[in-house]
């Protein structure tokens, strides 16, 4: 057996893993931001709706949601498993990212809003220019956690047949009878992806930190 080709076969799934992540994570961020703003500033009804959304989405295993969303979406429009899987993971992630951003929004003191209103800013402007920039800084650390989870959960799209890392590891382990090596390689690639991402986000956190005297 040619170990080089063995590894290369699994590693070539990395592009799918990265692509799925790069769709799911920003989609989850976009939805999560909007949902968290509705949650925190939207008034009673929207808060209730968002709270239900969050509870339901976080109460079901991602793989089950993936299937539900996949068959719901692909029943109506013709989407490739890759896109359906990525979008589904993004929707799952939006519930978690909503909670992360909600926590960050709430951790910005209400007095900041009052100070912004006092110079004549509307609520919307204050949220945009004063609250969100401060909340985002506080969200980076918990968000890097979610980024790691989405990278790892991207392996779930293997269930839809997307030839990403895990799918390939499974295929090659079956055809070569080398499951141990196959899954070790897959695990190492995931680990590297998560490790590098967390390092990058740590760097971002440090760069964005507001200067202050000790």
């Amino acid at each position: 057996m040619d170990v080089g080709r063995f590894i290369q076969y699994i590693a070539s799934g990395t592009a799918y893993t990265v692509s799925v992540t790069l769709i799911a994570l920003p989609l989850g961020l976009f939805l999560g931001l909007i949902f968290s703003l509705l949650y925190v500033y939207g008034g009673k009804v929207l808060t209730r709706i968002m709270s239900i959304y969050s509870t339901v989405m976080r109460g079901i295993p991602p793989i089950v949601l993936l299937f539900i969303l996949y068959f719901m979406v692909s029943g109506n429009i013709n989407l490739s498993p890759f896109w359906a899987g990525s979008i589904s993971l993004g929707i799952v992630s939006s519930a978690y990212q909503m909670e992360i951003i909600r926590g960050a929004l709430l951790s910005v003191s209400g007095a900041q809003m009052m100070a912004a209103r006092a110079i004549g800013m509307s609520r919307m402007r204050a949220i945009k220019h004063i609250i969100i920039p401060q909340a985002f800084r506080m969200a980076i650390c918990p968000w890097s956690n979610e980024a790691a989870i989405v990278i790892k959960d991207s392996s779930l799209v293997y269930a839809l047949g997307v030839p990403e890392i895990l799918r390939r590891a499974q295929l090659i382990s079956a055809s070569t009878q080398q499951p141990f090596l196959a899954f070790i390689v897959a695990g190492l690639i995931y680990f590297m992806l998560v490790f590098v991402t967390n390092r990058l986000l740590d760097g971002l956190d440090k760069r964005m930190r507001i200067p202050a005297n000790p």
């Binding site: 007095a111 900041q112 009052m114 912004a116 006092a118 110079i119 004549g120 800013m121 401060q134 202050a212």
Partner: protein, 254 residues
């Protein structure tokens, strides 16, 4: 003829059955510095917040520059542009430098062009003596410097009146002087100011009128020399001198 900038009529604020203050009437004339004093919990801060509509009063009316700002449908955001507010805890925007704190209202509310906003912000920082701290973040400034930036931030909007809510209460004693100095200069420059404070030295030297608020209503008001020496009520004299003992000395020493 005095020109009334702020007129408050029968203003009442309560939370449930708890009356914070009731039937407050007062007028602040252009160029005057009026000081509100009173024991804590008498609704001084709430009164200021009602005046710039950060809190809604339950009843009563407020006129700013002859226009009733409590009229239904009046644009509150517009009102607050013309009423500067300085808070006890400074409340600078933590993620912005001193310059950007002053500038943000100019660029995002008044919609000035970037270079105009920057020039005006720099000018206001200079006015409070902090041009050399323009690029420091709030966390890198002392409390006194932060409060001066907060004053510059309010001034930048060219307010008709400045409200100060115990602007020196959160400061270390040695930092109080620099803030009072800025306020004294503002008063001399003819800014109309309404100041809640315990700094009796400032009240005595700078104010045109002292308003003594207790248990939610105005006990007595008048020029400082009258309230300190010949007040109508013994309670006024008692409170003023007690506060002077506690707070006033630092100020007259400096």
């Amino acid at each position: 003829m005095p020109n009334p900038i702020l007129v408050v009529k029968d203003l009442t604020k309560k939370y449930g059955d708890n009356i914070i203050f009731h039937d407050i009437n007062m007028t602040v004339n252009e160029g005057d510095t009026d000081v509100i004093i009173g024991p804590s919990g008498t609704g001084k801060s709430t009164l200021l917040r009602c005046i710039n509509l950060l809190t809604k009063a339950n009843s009563g009316q407020i006129w700013l520059d002859g226009e009733e700002i409590t009229a239904p449908g009046y644009d509150e955001d517009e009102v607050r542009q013309h009423v500067g507010m300085v808070f006890q805890n400074f409340l600078l925007f933590n993620h912005l430098t001193a310059l950007d704190n002053v500038k943000i209202g100019l660029s995002k509310v008044k919609k000035l062009k970037d270079d105009q906003a920057e020039a005006k912000a720099m000018q206001e920082l200079d006015r409070v003596g902090l041009a050399d701290r323009a690029h420091h973040y709030p966390g890198q400034l002392s409390g006194g410097q932060q409060q001066r930036v907060a004053i510059a931030r309010a001034l930048a909007m060219d307010p008709r009146i400045m409200l100060f809510d115990e602007p020196t209460s959160a400061l270390d004693p040695e930092l109080i002087g620099e803030v009072l100095e800025v306020m004294r200069k503002l008063a001399l420059d003819g800014m109309t100011m309404l100041v809640v404070t315990h700094e009796m030295g400032f009240a005595r030297e700078v104010s045109d009128r002292i308003i003594f608020l207790e248990k939610g209503s105005i006990v007595e008001e008048g020029p400082p020399e009258v309230l300190f020496y010949t007040p109508k009520f013994e309670r006024t004299r008692e409170f003023l001198w007690k506060i002077t003992e506690l707070y006033g000395k630092k100020e007259s020493d400096s």
